[in-house]
Symmetry: C2
Subunit: 106 residues, 2 copies
Amino acid sequence: MERVCFLLRVRPDRLDEYRAHHRAVWTEMTDALTATGWRNYSLFLADDGLLVGYLETDDFAASLAGMEDTDVNARWQALMAPFFALPDGERPDTGLVRLDEIFHLA
Amino acid sequence: MERVCFLLRVRPDRLDEYRAHHRAVWTEMTDALTATGWRNYSLFLADDGLLVGYLETDDFAASLAGMEDTDVNARWQALMAPFFALPDGERPDTGLVRLDEIFHLA
């Protein structure tokens, strides 16, 4: 099992809208995440727009690739793209920075 | 149950030493964390020194206060203090920044 932590940057002037979207994530989207192995998945947001994702999965590469194959993910990422500070052409699900786990206590 | 995410800053010139300490955390320290309710606790480190903590607890304030009462925590935090970029007088366990959870999928 992998414990994954990743970072993204939300535009500081759009934090409220971004939070609002995440209080109402489409059921189709959460179903797709579950079907592709995303478990115990949380997003945490800092006041300056730093977004931290945490999840558990048997295989993160497979979970990312599984979502990549879904139409709902393409629609969700298109909706989210304007909220992120990302290089041109990157989507939130391809521009994330993964961090190394250096300690774990069960 | 609370899912907690917090940030700290490790000095970029001391990342390797910090990692090494966390491959050999004292059993007395992990026992104290468990006894004070820290569960599924991971630390993730970015190349620039950003440290992300994730844990689950029934009551984070109580878990922090519980560690505060232990001698082993005082010794561990004194050992760790030189690795952090913190305001004068702050310790790693008192200078952390907690982030809001804005989404969760079980």
